[in-house]
């Protein structure tokens, strides 16, 4: 699909345009800031809060571009579409060639759409923020650009740049607008990620220098024989970075802290799309560029995945903070991605990619719901809540719906991904899949028990003043998320077909090296 117009670059950099617009607005005077914080109702009496409207407009624009791309995406051709490219750095002599190259294929297209969608959700769920709104919405848009860049980069250097760019807005968003132990959590998140990035950069440089190019489409494992690091080491280095991001046990402890202390919108984007960068990277870089090493690592990946699923779910059950509980459930759910990948077949890998998309929607919705509840109760401790459904029934419907989606109920999106992973992976990873089934039971246990303790039970007078969902932004978010989760649950083809297209070339590579290896003895 070539629209004859750099639509992808527009998509990636449109949010930055929004940042520029917001930056050009006059800031609120210190006195205004003081009034907002100390005179109740001042903000609503004052002028329109432009930053959030600009952020909404820009993120909606991005979503529309992503949607149009999703619709006109040519489903009959495999490979990258909407490609924008030109040479960026050509230092032939030292073999350092960087291309400005962006494109989407079946694997990244749904993730691009997911990012654009969840950013709109993030903007809307932040509608009532009134602390330093200019910077807040600007950083949200920077975050969107960086994630879109990661999902569409076709060059390792750009991939790395965008991967790192994401840290700046995240650090500021958590440490300024967060709650609880936010400085610790923000720093932990950044340091942990940078720790992994160091390994990733070493791996990228080794690959790029050996292959004379950083273009993902051109690097192949044969070229890596000359690298200054052996291929399995490169693989392991890059895997460390992605495992931290995904995350997998035992590299996961940054996640509950960062999620819990982040503002709602950031939790949504963090769980919804940032974790997906890890899974996407594993499929796009590790298995595409180094299929042979990947094929040898299948059992290890499956075991790590199963440990994440089961151990993550068991730890989740003991959590006492509702947001932390959901954060931990992500560890368990992301284990399914590794399990699906380890199948090394189209079915399992499509399921893993599907899990990235569905988990983004479902956990995004769970964080939205917890955030909306927290806005009202000002506590996240499960022990403090009881019988909330009596007073906030509409939020109760949303919470129960999201919870059921999270435990993999059929007709909702999560089921499709999990069942596809199970069916795809059992043949090659029989024992790990058998153990992973426990995760399905444990997920039901922690979610239903949490619902029972927070939303069900007798009325508690102390919550009788809570307003139910009552703002158009809340209805929009809940309605849109529900609609998408049901749509993907009953008609998964819209996304599954694309993902299947995206993973097919990867599987072909793997099959080619495996059969060559078998043939060569």
């Amino acid at each position: 699909m070539d629209p004859g117009f750099p639509v992808l670059s527009l998509l990636i950099f449109l949010p930055l345009l929004g940042v520029l617009l917001i930056a050009l607005l006059p800031g609120r005077h210190t006195r205004t800031e003081w009034l907002v914080q100390n005179a109740p109702g001042y903000a609503t009496r004052g002028a329109v809060d432009y930053p959030k409207w600009i952020a909404l407009g820009i993120s909606l624009g991005t979503l529309i571009i992503a949607l149009v791309m999703f619709i006109i995406f040519d489903r009959s051709v495999s490979g990258f579409q909407f490609v924008d490219e030109f040479d960026w750095i050509s230092a032939e002599a030292v073999g350092f060639n960087v291309t400005y190259a962006f494109g989407v294929d079946g694997l990244s297209m749904p993730l691009v759409f997911l990012t654009a969608f969840l950013t709109v959700v993030g903007v809307l769920v932040s509608w009532r923020i009134d602390l330093r709104t200019k910077e807040y919405f600007a950083w949200l848009l920077v975050l969107e650009t960086s994630v879109l860049g990661v999902f569409t980069s076709l060059d390792l250097i750009f991939f790395f740049l965008f991967w790192e760019l994401e840290l700046i807005p995240m650090f500021l968003l958590i440490s300024i607008w967060g709650s609880g132990n936010r400085n610790y959590s923000a720093l932990k998140f950044v340091l942990y990620t940078v720790f992994g990035s160091a390994f990733m950069l070493a791996g990228f440089l080794a690959m790029g220098v050996a292959a004379d190019t950083f273009d993902i489409r051109e690097i192949r494992q044969d070229a890596l024989a000359a690298a200054f690091l052996p291929a399995p080491v490169i693989f392991a280095f890059i895997l460390i970075a992605f495992s931290i991001k995904l995350p997998v046990v035992p590299l996961h402890t940054w996640l509950p802290d960062a999620h819990t202390d982040a503002p709602t919108a950031v939790s949504v984007i963090l769980a919804g799309v940032l974790l997906k960068m890890g899974g996407y990277g594993i499929l796009r870089l590790l298995f595409t560029l180094m299929p042979e090493v990947g094929a040898d690592a299948d059992l290890a990946l499956a075991i790590i995945g199963v440990v994440s699923i089961v151990y993550g779910a068991i730890v989740t059950i003991r959590q006492t903070d509702l947001k932390r509980l959901i954060a931990y459930s992500s560890v368990s759910h992301m284990g399914f991605v590794l399990l699906g990948v380890s199948a090394l077949g189209v079915t399992g890998m499509s399921g893993a990619a599907m899990q990235l998309v569905t988990h983004g929607l479902i956990t995004g919705m769970l964080f939205v719901m917890v955030g909306l509840v927290y806005d009202r109760t000002h506590t996240r401790q499960i022990a403090d809540m009881r019988g909330l459904a009596h007073y906030i029934p509409l939020l109760g419907i949303g919470m129960v719906f999201a919870g059921l989606a999270g435990l993999g109920l059929p007709a909702l999106a999560g089921f499709v991904a999990e069942i596809t992973i199970f069916l795809g992976a059992f043949g090659s990873q029989t024992a790990p899949v058998s153990v992973a089934l426990l995760g399905v039971l444990l997920a039901a246990a922690y979610i239903l028990w949490a619902l029972q303790r927070t939303f069900f039970g007798p009325k508690d007078e102390k919550w009788s003043h809570l307003p139910d969902a009552n703002h158009w932004s809340e209805f929009t978010i809940i309605g849109a998320l529900m609609a998408l989760i049901v749509l993907l649950g009953v008609y998964p083809s819209i996304v599954m077909d694309l993902l299947e297209m995206g993973v097919e070339p990867i599987v072909h590579e793997i099959e080619a090296v495996v059969s060559a290896g078998a043939g060569g003895g």
């Binding site: 932990k188 340091l191 942990y192 046990v249 035992p250 996961h252 402890t253 940054w254 151990y311 068991i314 730890v315 059950i317 003991r318 077949g345 189209v346 079915t347 890998m349 499509s350 019988g387 459904a389 009596h390 029934p393 509409l394 059921l404 109920l409 059929p410 007709a411 089921f415 499709v416 596809t420 199970f422 069916l423 795809g424 059992f426 899949v433 058998s434 089934l437 426990l438 399905v440 039971l441 039901a444 239903l448 029972q452 939303f455 069900f456 039970g457 007798p458 009325k459 307003p467 139910d468 009552n470 703002h471 008609y491 998964p492 083809s493 599954m496 077909d497 993902l499 299947e500 599987v507």
Partner: protein, 671 residues
């Protein structure tokens, strides 16, 4: 009939669900309209009310079910014309992922046709009853939304032509059961029971999920008919092979065992029976429809659907036969000591489902399905009867009832007919179906037969005890309405329930009386045999010995129970407190054989939550995260230690350069 008709049957209640759901959400929206928009245009009110009225929740569902029931009856007549043979009706591709092709499709044969009539028929009557029973409840709309969703899921379950679709609807009925048990979520017991039901059944579902994954990875198909044909082909040298599909004997056995795990969970068989009695926390019509007539019978349906698979392995068929026989007797023993009328019926349901289970295990496929059908009608009637009693007394505790025979004559009449049918008294429907199972057991497995016969005697005894405590003797006052609940304001004067509740009871009574005659001549058996890969003509079995023996046993046990209850005071004076002469035995039974506390307190709470989960959480916080924090702290310490070098003094920098230069110079000179 064309395929469209079956999608219509499925989508009718789904449409009702959407309408009821809109109505329920609208109710909650309207509650707070003045709060969020003071300028809410009042002229919209009538429109909003149209979508908020309680009847929008119930009327469409009743109409939808009436139409669906008619279609199901027409289909059954068609199916009878075809002797129950399968009409291979369409399959559509839903999505693909590599080699995996997931279809949705319907398959119609004698078994499905019977199930469609039972589900739509009982659901229709229960919904009519519910309009009376739930009238005035705050959650009326939500109730019908859940009921509509349940009926949809149950219909999908019986229509499904492949295992994945069946599993999806299987989970959905589990969900709606969860929502309905926890319907009155302000009661902690209801919220806990809902969660327990979902988790215990899901434990069984894991087996079914594993079975599905296994059969897919072995044969590459999820199509029910193909799997059955494969299982029916018979093993040669440990391999089943037909039509290009192949599977080993071991895998086939494991597949059967996985299905049995699913069925044992859903149909509340030992050891996963513990959720069903707690599920009685749901509204009574829910217990009638979901927890006696349809959903819990889905386990039996599953095994009947995969009958050739169960019998492709003697391990699987023996296992289910003995689980069934043991559960039939054990649950009947527990039913003897319950004081809550719904719990008596719940244990009775477990016991009756167990009959169907062991019937399948010993090969009595048609007898099991027949008992499933008759049981659905008379047990739904019994539950609805207990709801009718509750409607006027506000209690399910039989110690607070009594003497309702004259005060609630229609309820008494229908309950009595249900009791006789359940006890297997000639010529009511329960007699025909239960005797058919017993005759089959006598011919094929004497051990199972003995357990089944004992359970049949106990059935008569516990039902007579329940009827006596509820309807005979003096009225013991009922219970006042709990604060914040909805019920009869004057429980000291019980009255017969409204017509919306008694009509369904009377209709079910008529069905319960006549349904049994379907078996005479083997007609019914022929229809359902049509669903098997290798259909055969049904035949009617009759055994004077078993007829006389089981009837005599039922009458004797019922009579003994009656005498015991009637002369309770004199029996007490002999030093016998409960129905069990030994106090220890009585306690063992009232403690439910300690199975519930073993599972909940020991396994779930102590071992899992208190030990496994707690140590994992400790490990995570202290070790896994501890290492990270420690590394961080050590890093800071090292940095702090090295900081003195970067002190910014020009002199220090010059000194370093000088010293460094000297070291290099010395090194160069020396080496």
């Amino acid at each position: 009939m064309s395929e469209t008709i079956f999608w219509v049957i499925l989508f009718l209640p789904l449409t009702a669900f959407v309408l009821a759901g809109i109505s329920a959400v609208n109710q909650n929206l309207q509650r707070q309209i003045p709060e969020w928009d003071p300028n809410y245009p009042r002229s919209w009110k009538p429109i909003a009310d149209l979508f908020c009225g309680p009847r929008l929740a119930s009327t469409p569902l009743i109409i939808a079910l009436a139409v669906a029931f008619l279609l199901a009856v027409i289909n059954l007549i068609d199916s009878i014309g075809l002797r129950g043979l399968p009409l291979g009706i369409g399959t559509h591709e839903l999505f693909t992922a590599g080699e995996l092709v997931v279809n949705v499709g319907v398959r119609i044969d004698g078994l499905t046709s019977v199930m469609l009539v039972v589900v739509t028929g009982v659901s229709l009557l229960v919904q009519v009853y519910s309009t009376g029973y739930m009238d005035g409840d705050h959650g009326y709309r939500r109730y019908f939304a859940f009921m509509a969703l349940f009926t949809t899921s149950m219909l999908g379950l019986v229509l499904a032509d492949n295992l994945l679709m069946l599993f999806a609807f299987w989970e959905l009925v589990g969900l709606t059961s969860y929502l309905l048990i926890g319907f009155w979520f302000h009661r902690p017991a209801a919220a806990a029971a809902a969660k327990k039901a979902f988790l215990v059944t899901r434990l069984g579902d894991l087996g079914m999920l594993a079975a599905m994954i296994l059969i897919y990875s072995e044969t590459g198909t999820l199509d029910i008919a193909s799997i059955n044909v494969l299982a029916d082909s018979g093993a040669e040298a440990g391999m089943f092979a037909i039509n290009g599909l192949m599977i080993g004997q071991t895998a086939m056995t494991l597949f059967g065992l996985g299905l049995i795990a699913g069925a044992v969970g859903k149909s509340a068989q030992f050891p996963l029976h513990i959720w069903l009695p707690d599920a009685m926390e749901g509204p009574t019509p829910v217990s009638a429809l979901v927890h006696s007539a349809t959903m819990v019978a889905a386990g039996v349906y599953l095994l009947a659907r995969f009958f050739p698979v169960i019998h492709a392995s003697s391990t699987a068929s023996d296992l289910i036969a003995w689980i069934g026989a043991g559960t039939a007797l054990g649950a009947a023993l527990l039913a003897m000591v319950q004081v809550d009328i719904k719990r008596v019926l719940a244990y009775s349901t477990i016991s009756q489902l167990a009959y169907m289970m062991f019937a399948i295990g010993i090969g009595g496929y048609a007898a099991a399905v027949f008992h499933l059908m008759t049981h659905a009608f008379f047990k739904a009637m019994l539950f609805l009867g207990s709801g009718s009693v509750n409607h006027s007394t506000n209690t399910f505790d039989m110690r607070r009832m009594g003497g309702l025979r004259t005060l609630m004559p229609i309820t008494f009449l229908t309950f009595a007919v249900g009791t006789l049918s359940l006890a297997g008294i000639f010529p009511l429907s329960g007699f025909w179906s239960k005797d058919e199972i017993l005759i089959y057991a006598w011919d094929h497995n004497k051990g199972v037969f003995v357990l089944g016969l004992l359970a049949a005697g106990l059935t008569a005894a516990y039902m007579v005890r329940a009827v006596y405590m509820t309807f005979f003797g003096q009225y013991r006052g009922g219970e006042d309405v709990a604060p914040g609940e909805h019920g009869n304001e004057d429980p000291s004067h019980p009255h017969e329930s409204p017509r919306s509740m008694t009509m369904p009871l009377l209709i079910l009574m008529v069905i319960s009386v006549v349904a049994g005659f379907l078996t005479i001549g083997g007609e019914f058996q022929t229809w359902v045999y049509g669903a098997l890969p290798d259909p055969k003509e049904g035949s009617f079995h009759w055994s004077w010995g078993i007829f006389l023996g089981s009837t005599a046993l039922a009458l004797a046990a019922g009579g003994a129970a009656y005498m015991f209850m009637h002369h309770r005071d004199r029996v007490r004076s002999w030093g016998i407190g409960g129905i069990w002469p030994i106090p220890e035995a009585q306690k063992f039974a009232t403690e439910l054989f300690y199975l519930d506390s073993l599972a909940e307190n020991l396994l779930a709470r102590r071992v899992f939550y208190g030990w496994i989960a707690r140590s994992s959480a400790w490990f995570d916080a202290t070790i896994v995260d501890g290492v990270v924090n420690r590394a961080w702290r050590e890093g800071l310490t090292i940095s702090n230690g090295a900081r003195f070098v970067q002190n910014g003094w020009v002199q220090a920098g010059t000194l370093s350069i000088g010293l460094g230069g000297m070291i290099i110079w010395i090194a160069v000179v020396l080496f």
